[in-house]
Amino acid sequence: MASPMKQEARWGVLMALPAIIGFVAFTFLPMIASAVISLTDWTIGAAPKFVGFANYTRMFTADDSFFKSLWATLYYTLGAVPLLLVVAFAVALLLNQPVRGQSVFRVIYYLPAIVPIVANSMLWIWLFNPDFGLLNTLTEKAGLPRSQWIFDESTAIPSLILMSVWGFGNVAVIFLAGLQGVPRQLYEAIAVDGGGAWRKFRHITLPMMTPTIFYSLVTSVIGALQVFVQAAVMTEGGPNDSTLFYIYYLYRTAFTNNEMGYASALAWVLFGVIMAITVVLFRNSSRWVYYEAGSTR
């Protein structure tokens, strides 16, 4: 019989084995394969042909759709993420106030976040309907001009940004958990000093929340850069490619045009963009993110 130590190690490897196989089979090998495929001209049905970096040069020199999709995705991300964070933060502050009925309001504010994305997309096509939709009804009531919303090139992305902000609930919950983790003594110290609500917010709440804000910023940016369903279900990338989000363009390249080589190259460029943005965010974070000395988090 093997020694207990050896036996423990055996069990250890055995029990982690499914996950290790899964990593190799569904992450590591596909990653290598994707890098290789991105160097080929491979249309489904034909044999792959090695073309070196031609896919990458084509992207940057001969593909308008690539730039359009990059622009649409960055525009969406730049608009949606800051708005989402601000709204979620405001809501979290409000939901953190100890008033009666607090839990009811928490449920109400969280509801939009649980709507399944396809159902959500359908709902918003209907809300955006220029003739009979809710939004134009409201703008008219407010004396504002009607909008074509997602059905016009210039307003399509802002409309989808508005839609994304409605799903603030998940980020608000994260912020709420962060607010509840702010040590109460800090507020009491300011109260002793005679500080008002603004000082408490500016000098305690906000600095103590910066790690949570930073985390939400990074995950929201990464999520927004990979927006897909809205383009696939609501706009099909239109009108006039204005909502040709990157993943949607990649999907069409791979599964409508069957260009597996070019689509793989697109995927690697997206990976590069995400990494670059993440690195920039982390580099800048030391300037504004406050980590409490000795904090375990």
């Binding site: 209907w126 809300l127 109460r184 990976f271």
Partner: protein, 297 residues
Amino acid sequence: MTAVLEKPEVAATAPPASRPLAPRGAGKKILVYLLLIAGAIPTLLPLIWLVRSALMESGQIFVSPPQWIPKPFAWDNFSGALTQVPFARYFLNTLILEAGVLVGTVLSCSLAAFSFARLRWKHKNLVFGILMSGVMLPYAVTLIPTFLFWQKLGLVNTYVPLILPHWFGTGVFNIFLLRQFFLSIPYELDESAYIDGATPFQVYWRIILPLSKPALAVVGVFTFLGVWNDYLGPLIYLNDSDKYTLAMGLASFQGTYTAQWGYLMAAAAVVLLPIVLLFAFAQKYFVEGIALTGLKG
């Protein structure tokens, strides 16, 4: 997040570290209520619009200016929508997927998490680190080779590509979360079981899993939501409409019946309803899960 997961039995209901100071005076309280109500209106309005449209006859839907109360209540929108498209079939398909993915995820992720948290073996931490690095990779990178792999095996248009990877711990974040939780369970429990001659698998199955129900519930709820919401996966892998999931069925319904908003909103409501019920019964796991993922940083 380690702070929240300190002890298994309190993980789901970890008390807030602090409570903000109560609003002083009635004036501030009234202001808080006013803001809460003012914010609840735009939050709820789209959902109210969804329900009113789902219950309205098409004649009334296209009245301008729009009306809010259905007259009469068109309950047959639901039976209409549900019979135009085989939603019962889609529902069953989705449940089959859910079952396959849920069981696979919970088993493979908890096995690996147990190994990483409680067994000693060589290079364990290195292997864990490599597995975790997988979360950095956008799914777009592995999407195409994985698809080509399943195509080669002739398994496109089956549920295998949508289920099998989940039996191999591909939801690495779940491994991370469960490992954190398992680490917080006192090790003496394992030791006394080993003295009684238990194997590591018995310790995992009889001691650790029963103590980890809150963490398993969080993983379960979020896995369920992930499958329910997934659109890209079924879109790529399922061709025959009788294999569609609810999300796909809903999207294709939207493409076919563009102007029948009563039907469309009734269908969207049907897809939303199970999630609302799940939320009603498992609210604390929703909030807990989001808060945990959010505080991971």
